[in-house]
């Protein structure tokens, strides 16, 4: 059951995991690292965000979380939330469930935070054997992941497929905002040139970033 991120056919991996989540006692959580938000995306906020999604997937807010909240409210140790506290609560709740954690753009997490985040996720995986971790990132953070999780990691290289590029272009051309310039001849010409497509054309057609 997922309450926050929603399973609305708007994503790939998360949607597939949600199909299963409806049937079982499963929670799917996600986090998107963004370099522009690096100050807010501290380890405690990032891990707290996962915990928040885990908690929101429950019928009731688990006792461990309520207790910590009330203790803090009464000023016991009143320094707010810390990574260790978040992990403790997370483990208590996740231990009996099947959970999927999906993390996007690990490379956009600043190095000092990344160490803490990876180590924390490693502890989560160790403490809750039914937790699975899905991570995306640029190739340069691969070695860090390898080092931290060792042999427990499977790697897949993401590359654009020709089919994907064609679908993408068709969609962009269909929704072209300057129909007076776009003609069927031009469209055909563009499609014809896909295999040898250069990055400029791709960028002009509205891709977010250039092809590698």
């Amino acid at each position: 059951m997922v309450l926050l991120i929603g399973c609305d056919n708007s994503s790939l991996v998360i949607d597939r995991l949600c199909d299963e989540a409806v049937k079982e006692d499963t929670v799917v959580m996600c986090f998107y690292f963004d370099f522009a938000a690096r100050n807010e995306q501290s380890p405690v906020n990032m891990l707290g965000s996962l915990l928040r999604q885990l908690v929101s997937g429950q019928e009731n807010i688990p006792e461990a979380v309520v207790q910590s909240f009330l203790e803090r409210k009464r000023g016991i140790g009143g320094r707010g939330l810390q990574v260790s506290g978040v992990l403790e609560m997370f483990q208590t709740i996740a231990a009996t469930k099947r959970t999927f954690i999906c993390v996007d753009a690990l490379d956009e997490c600043v190095p000092a935070h990344r160490i803490v985040v990876l180590e924390s996720l490693r502890q989560v995986l160790r403490g809750s054997p039914n937790t699975r971790l899905f991570v995306t990132g640029r190739p340069q953070v691969r070695s860090e992941v390898e080092k931290r999780f060792g042999g427990a990691t499977t790697f897949i290289s993401i590359q654009p497929t020709e089919n994907g590029v064609v679908r993408y272009l068709r969609d962009k051309l269909r929704n072209d905002t300057t129909p007076e310039i776009m003609s069927s001849t031009l469209e055909a010409e563009i499609m014809k040139n896909i295999p040898g497509m250069n990055s400029e054309t791709y960028a002009e057609l509205g891709a977010r970033e250039k092809l590698p």
């Binding site: 994503s11 790939l12 991996v13 054997p129 190739p139 994907g164 250039k210 590698p212």
Partner: protein, 94 residues
């Protein structure tokens, strides 16, 4: 609101239960856990996705094995790392 929640609240601090408003406290607790709202980005990305692109990933042996692995063989494939250069669409496969 949950029975657990109220019970717990009473057991911890009786004074709190007098001005205790469940739904209000629930949202306070959630906000306390983290101010970040990753589902906003999730929805933004979803709105820009072109359906079907990247679906090959779901059919790979690696993905299936990762998703279906049982706790007995957790030591093997608990983590799936998808790496790719900028712009290949990593965020869109998640």
């Amino acid at each position: 609101m949950s029975q657990n929640f109220s019970d717990n609240c009473n057991s911890i601090n009786i004074a709190n239960s007098f001005n205790y408003t469940p739904s209000n406290d629930e949202s306070k607790i959630l906000a306390w856990l983290s101010p970040l709202e990753p589902w906003v980005r999730h929805r933004d990305i979803g709105a820009q996705r072109v359906d079907g692109i990247g679906a090959w990933l779901l059919e790979t042996r690696e993905f299936r094995r990762w998703r279906n692995v049982s706790s007995e063989d957790e030591s093997n494939h608990a983590t799936l790392f998808c790496d790719g250069n900028p712009g290949v669409g990593k965020s869109y496969i998640m």
